[in-house]
């Protein structure tokens, strides 16, 4: 099975202190460290595991800047066969639809049975996978947390639904899936692995190579402002005996969906 995984480079939330920039339209990026978007990493691991089971190839693709090459190399160190970097000055500042448009153009240059994306990236929109599927006119399942290969043209996929429940679906190939974190246990990649793929050529495609015109990728949604919400009234103190407190707490957790 030939699989394409769409990945992206994001600021690592675990290793940064995120602050909104002065003009409010972005975060302070000066001292940030970046890494592969977490859900994308699960998607790549899933693709590699499928390849290990049934053969085929795994290609990772990203829309970004030259610096995005590092996440492609990381995923290649993990076991992806090929990386493709889609970069062009014209891509800067595009929105989710723009990214889906760019990816669609790249997808059409190759032949992929399965396209995976992470469920969500740093912008939190979770829109690229669905838009890409629609543009390609392929079946789509989101928030996938299990993939089983039924036969050459069919997959059985589990989706995470409300309350931690799972919904099972059959889906025809070729298709697009957005992958939820936790679907597998991604393998570790260290500096050594990345160094070992350091000399592998990564094709770079720009707007011209993809036959894209600037207006096709111009953002239709424009970011206006970021702000840190003001702190609320504070904590609610539960009172009563231990048993009463526990009972109230359990009720609240249930009400908010923390407990089933």
């Amino acid at each position: 099975m030939d699989i394409l995984v769409c990945v992206t480079r994001v600021p690592d939330t675990a290793e940064n202190e995120i602050e909104v920039s002065k003009d409010g339209t972005d975060i302070e990026r000066g001292a940030l460290v970046y890494s592969i978007n977490e859900a994308d990493n699960y998607a790549v691991e899933e693709a590699i595991q499928i390849k290990e089971r049934v053969g085929g190839s795994v290609t990772v693709v990203t829309v970004g800047t030259e610096e995005s090459e590092e996440v492609l190399r990381r995923e290649m160190a993990m076991g992806a066969d090929k990386g493709i970097l889609l970069t062009d000055d014209a891509f800067a500042g595009t929105d989710g639809r723009g990214i889906a448009t760019i990816l669609k153009a790249e997808v059409e240059k190759g032949k992929y049975d399965l396209i995976l994306t992470g469920a969500l990236a740093d912008a939190g929109a979770g829109e690229v996978g669905g838009m890409l599927a629609a543009m390609l006119d392929r079946p789509y399942a989101s928030l996938v947390n299990s993939i089983e290969i039924v036969d050459e043209s069919t997959l059985k996929v589990g989706r995470e639904v409300e309350g931690g429940n799972t919904e099972m679906n059959r889906i025809k190939l070729p298709c697009v899936l957005s992958i939820q974190t936790g679907i597998n246990e991604p393998r570790y990649v260290g500096i050594r692995g990345i160094r070992q793929v350091a000399s592998v050529q990564i094709p770079v495609h720009g707007a011209g190579d993809l036959g894209l015109k600037a207006e096709a990728i111009a953002p239709r949604v424009q970011r206006q402002d970021y702000f840190v919400p003001t702190f609320g009234a504070g904590a609610e103190m539960l009172e009563g005996s231990n048993e009463e407190i526990i009972e109230k707490l359990v009720e609240m957790l249930k009400a908010k969906g923390g407990l089933k």
Binding site: D12, E15, E17, E185, Y188, G190, I191, R192, R195, Q196
Partner: protein, 697 residues
């Protein structure tokens, strides 16, 4: 004295002349034994190199101390003494066994040098030895077969019980000495009847007893016992010899060489490959131990030398806490795998077969805290930590790293600390140090460098150790600086968790930063950093632990302590693994405690080189092991048993683990933990002059 009974070499057995029969037995026995050994050592020839022939005097001393003097045996007194007696008996009887083999072929053979009075002395000696061996083997057999000490049990997940193996070999030993006694006793009776003096037959020895029992036997019976005893002795001897390389009794052959070839430098980790330089590791296709042949020959010899005595596992904190690790079975399972992979007859197992999943398990290898309790205990100096690290290197290279460790490793790569905190905040702790701290931040120099390391730099609670250290250094009149933002995690656990490349990168960054300061010496309050800088890194100035610095301050009169106010407190010192066992600093921290007036001290049963690991430092804090209880909880209970209510540690990781364990054990209010630096800081006599702020250079 001529023999009266027909000697084996003069007799015929079922028509076969003695010399022919015994030559045959010897040739077949030796050929089989040689063949078995050749097969057993086949994997060692395919193994990785391991230079073990340097520092000959040191090695000979090891051989004498741990080999011939059986230094570690009395750590388990009763079985230890049994083993010393058995070992001494074997040494004496080995000469007898050789001469006995020849006696059946060359009539009346006497080993050169044992002809005259020396022979008589030896004869008495070997009769005593044989009797002792007989008694000890019988006691050991009863102990192993009937009393079955718990230490020898084989939990189901590690295979089947090994008692039969021990009992069988003990039986063979009993057979060996008994048959010789029959051989010799029957001749002695005949000599006595002929009126000859058999003065060397010492009363209460085996041959004497046999002579006594056979006193009334007919000459025919004596002759039969004499020849039968000899024949059975020879058969048992070669059976015993050929059986040795099939199990734990291989140690009879391999343990003395293993001790001679033992590791010389404590606290260090072996390089990935002895034949590849650190900077050339990137050229290797594969890193670490993945298949059996990735082990070095010495690591394989370790497996062969394991006596299955279980002392390692008896002391292993991971085993005690119910983690899926028992060091004994690392050796036993690997040996069984080696035997299966390299059978006595037939082809070698498939190439490239991974050890993980076939002989060993991932969880087993990640469970080790590298505390070194197993190595400290092993009578034959088997090395476990290097193997664990080599196996982890292999797993890291294959991407098989537990999810709980991936985040801290990635943070170490990006930010130089496992929490992913900002580099610029590394020196924030010194804002509350109350004394000036020179933060070098990649510029400036310092005579003395205080290497803080990550946990003390970033953890709110452990920052207090840094602050106490800074004040104590000031008290001791030492001007010092810290690296600040230029400091990276020492990588002590990064190395020990098998992430070699990341460790090398951290080491390079730290080495460069330290050398740039021109420091003449380094001080640290973190034993893991201490061990890393002292034993893992190269080309650094001398490193000392803060306990050494404080003690020197006390001796030079710069540091003095106020008496302890609360006399109801009983303090017990917990030896951190990387201060104690790995660097043998047992006395300094204790002497600091002793120099505090009125401080009541109690020792835990497991202290000094038998200290019990608190749960492990560095990356071990992030690992989520499968375990029944926390090591720290076990340790806190040990302190309670010792009658203590304050546990003094000298390591930030010990403090984290023990403070957590006190909470988990529900002993808050009854038990507390304090770092040596905090205690010294609390008790030190000083005039109050509060200066705050870090001084940037």
């Amino acid at each position: 004295m001529n023999s009266i009974l027909t000697s084996p070499a003069a007799a015929t057995f079922l028509g076969i002349p003695g010399p022919v029969l015994f030559t045959l037995i010897t040739v077949v026995g030796m050929a089989a034994f040689t063949y078995i050994l050749v097969r057993r050592f086949a994997p060692l020839l395919r193994a990785q190199p391991d230079p073990r022939f340097s520092d000959l005097p040191q090695r000979l001393w090891k051989l004498l101390k741990f080999g011939f003097l059986q230094w570690r045996q009395p750590r388990y007194m009763f079985p230890g003494v049994l083993h010393i007696l058995l070992f001494a008996g074997f040494l004496v009887l080995s000469v007898r066994s050789i001469s006995l083999v020849v006696v059946g072929i060359v009539d009346g053979f006497v080993l050169p040098g044992l002809g005259g009075s020396a022979g008589v002395v030896y004869s008495v000696l070997k009769d005593i030895a044989a009797t002792v061996v007989l008694a000890v083997a019988a006691i050991a057999m009863v102990r192993r077969g009937i009393f079955k000490p718990k230490r020898y049990e084989v939990p189901a997940r590690y295979g089947k019980d090994h008692t039969w193996e021990a009992v069988l070999v003990l039986g063979l030993i009993i057979g060996l000495v008994t048959f010789d006694m029959l051989f010799e006793g029957s001749e002695a009776v005949s000599q006595m009847r002929a009126g000859n003096d058999v003065g060397h037959l010492l009363p209460a020895t085996g041959p004497w007893l046999v002579a006594y029992l056979l006193g009334a036997a007919s000459p025919g019976v004596l002759q039969a016992v004499h020849l039968g005893g000899y024949l059975l002795h020879e058969l048992t001897f070669f059976a015993f010899l050929c059986l040795l390389p099939f199990g734990k009794h291989f140690h009879v052959i391999t343990s003395l060489p293993n001790v001679f070839l033992g590791k010389l430098r404590k606290g260090t980790i072996k390089p990935v490959r002895w034949d590849v330089k650190e900077e050339e590791l990137d050229n290797l296709k594969s890193l670490g131990v993945k298949t059996f042949e990735d082990f070095t020959w010495k690591q394989m010899l370790d497996f062969y030398s394991c006596v299955d005595c279980g002392r390692c596992s008896d002391n292993c904190p991971a085993n005690a806490a119910g983690r899926p690790l028992s060091p004994r079975f690392i050796s036993i399972k690997s040996r069984e795998y080696a035997f299966k992979r390299y059978p006595i007859f037939g082809a070698v197992g498939p190439a490239g077969e991974p050890l993980i999943g076939n002989a060993l398990h991932e969880d087993e290898i990640w469970s080790c805290t590298t505390c070194g309790a197993c190595e400290e205990e092993c009578p034959v100096l088997i090395e476990y930590i290097d193997k664990i690290v080599d196996l982890r290197r292999g797993m890291v290279d294959e991407g098989m790293v537990p999810q709980s460790l991936q985040k801290p490793l990635s943070a170490l790569e990006k930010r130089g600390n496992p929490w992913g905190k900002m580099e610029k905040k590394r020196a924030d702790w010194c804002k509350e140090a109350e004394v000036p701290v020179a933060v070098l931040d990649g510029g400036g120099s310092a005579e003395t460098l205080y290497f803080v390391d990550s946990i003390t730099s970033y953890d709110d609670r452990m920052q207090k150790i840094g602050q106490a250290t800074a004040r104590l250094l000031t008290d001791a009149g030492i001007e010092f600086g810290i690296l600040g933002a230029a400091e990276r995690d020492s990588g002590h656990e990064v190395l020990r968790f098998g992430e070699q490349t990341l460790y090398q990168s951290l080491k390079e960054q730290n080495t460069e930063a330290i050398q740039a300061t021109g420091a003449k010496r380094i001080v640290t309050a973190d034993p893991h950093a201490f061990n890393a800088l002292k034993n893992d890194y190269q080309g650094l100035p001398p490193v000392e632990h803060i306990s050494q610095t404080i003690l020197r301050g006390v001796r030079e009169g710069r540091i003095a302590f106020n008496p302890v106010e609360d006399q109801s407190k009983v303090y017990t010192y917990h030896d951190p693994c990387y201060l104690g066992r790995h660097n043998e600093l047992y006395e300094e921290p204790r002497q600091v405690l002793e120099s505090i007036p009125g401080l009541r001290q109690a020792e835990m049963e497991r202290c000094r080189d038998r200290s019990f690991c608190c749960g492990g430092g560095g990356l071990m804090l992030f690992f989520e092991p499968e375990e029944e209880q926390r090591m720290g909880v076990l340790r806190v209970k040990m302190a309670q048993e010792a009658g203590a209510n304050v546990i003094v540690t000298a390591c930030p990781f010990c403090l984290v683990n023990i403070e957590d364990a006190i909470k988990v054990a529900g002993l808050e209010g009854e038990m507390e933990a304090i770092d040596l630096t905090e205690l010294a800081d609390r008790q030190v006599k000083r005039q109050v002059t509060a200066i705050d702020n870090c001084v940037n250079q």
